[in-house]
Symmetry: C2
DNA sequence: CGGGAGGTTGACAATCGTCAATCAGAGTGG
DNA sequence: CCACTCTGATTGACGATTGTCAACCTCCCG
């Protein structure tokens, strides 16, 4: 059972949201104040806890304060497809908020906290404050861009390329979210969950990770820890071009986004 | 070479866009007037003509006036993945418009006409007129919902289910767009294009279509014509639940969306 | 009549899935 | 501290869906 807290535990619980929205579009001080003044409830979630279930009608928009979460759909034979992975600062449910009914589930990958903001407040602030609305819209468009890349990833890349691609995306997004170095991180998911994200089976994911290790593209001191020795090599193996993430200051073509000798992600993001 | 025309050829060239946006959110007469007053250029496109190429910076938002179009990405080994199919009345490029740089290509499936609306005008009207902005936002969110379903379709369904699903989606969207009966239509694409949309090969698509025919789920008087005798049977075979399309008046659970004895798509859409 | 694009089919190969056994590590209770 | 248990990771043997290659067919169009 999640323990619920209402009101501001600190002066800046919603700060991660502010930071992310500012990344997409310039906000003025009134925008910032309005954002941070949004009412919310903090919910402590256990591992695998459901934030939203497919079919639910939506009353709240969830901001991930800590931990990792996924969005998923279940198909007829009971198999699951993970359609997105989310980390701190991401608004997991802006998608469902406007539409009113969840067409997919949102579930915690790890334990963590979410801020539940009433849907009507989100909609109100988006339309009262064009800067905020624009930032939110862009945020959902980037999500959509990632979906498209995943369609291509799952539809047209083989297992090894596919997994390498996901590892690169995750690394870079961790970096952008300020959650660690892209060249060495702990995957917050089981191989079965990674399989559900890539349209493979856990057995095949295991073999593919082993193969990536044997090929020297990654090192794994334990099953979850991913160390990327040569970013460029992995990015090439994963056909990874960060353009679809629409990060600032990243060239459209494949660049040394992270690690290696070149400077890492060069976007200028206000660091908290 | 496309022949270009500027200005309003008729009083209501942009009418399909109005119709679609009104479907998502209520507009008042000022909204409608502002929409129809948008400047645009009509471009006549040949089959396979590119509307936008991946990497282009975006100056226009394209409204499909006639014909069919696709959005696609190319992966490293040269294979193509189609990530979306579009038909009359759809704004193919709202996605790219806000982001400024195309992360995918848009290409005509058939010959047709598009209205090119300057990107700045689209952005302006979206933020000057909240109703329009909201309708556009919802439109992009529904697109995103369809991407998610495609991820699940390609990642977790076998070839037969996958193709049946696409056939159902296409049928229903044709109906909603007022482009014909969902139970009998002409597919505007080759089997190779259908393969690129489903993450299969053209050979396997062919075999799967044959199998669907042999199973009595569809009839094909010619390679392109799809006749759906029993909608429910095909929808079941395709694990198709129209919820992700967010159509009005359609039950969240699988319903007799079209064909069969039950009334077809019951949404109340203003018919042009 | 000829050319070409797209559709259909067969033989065969390969990627990936299934089933099942074993192993490693974390948490629990005695 | 040590069985006990459970989840997740790893590995092998085998099978199945899907891909590849190539031939042939059909239809449309100049």
């Amino acid at each position: 059972m999640p323990d619920n807290t209402t009101g501001p535990p600190g002066p800046s619980t919603l700060e991660p949201m502010l930071r992310k929205l500012e990344y997409w579009h310039k906000l003025d001080s009134a925008d910032r104040a309005a954002l941070l003044a949004l009412p919310y409830t903090v919910k402590t979630m256990g591992q695998n806890g459901y934030v939203v279930r497919e079919g639910d009608s939506i009353a709240h928009c969830c901001l991930l304060l800590s931990g990792f979460a996924i969005r998923s759909k279940i198909v007829a034979d009971g198999h699951r497809q993970i359609v997105a992975i989310h980390m701190r600062g991401e608004m997991v449910d802006l998608q469902n908020s406007l539409l009113g009914r969840a067409d997919h589930s949102v579930q915690m990958l790890t334990a963590g906290k979410v801020a539940m903001i009433p849907r009507v407040e989100i909609v109100r602030i988006a339309f009262e404050r064009p800067n905020i609305g624009r930032a939110m819209w862009i945020d959902t468009l980037v999500d959509a861009s990632i979906f498209r890349e995943w369609v291509a990833n799952i539809g047209r890349r083989d297992a090894q390329t596919r997994i390498a691609h996901v590892l690169c995306e995750f690394a870079l997004r961790l970096k952008v979210a300020g959650l660690g170095e892209p060249t060495s991180y702990e995957l917050p998911m089981t191989q079965e969950q990674l399989a559900d994200a890539t349209g493979l089976t856990s057995v095949h994911v295991n073999r593919t990770l082993m193969a990536l290790g044997a090929a020297g593209l990654i090192e794994r001191s334990n099953p979850r820890r991913i160390v990327i020795g040569d970013w460029r090599k992995l990015a090439d193996a994963g056909d990874f071009d960060s353009g679809y993430l629409h990060l600032h200051g990243t060239e459209p073509a494949l660049a040394h986004e992270a690690g290696g000798g070149a400077p890492v992600a060069k976007f200028s993001q206000p660091v908290g």
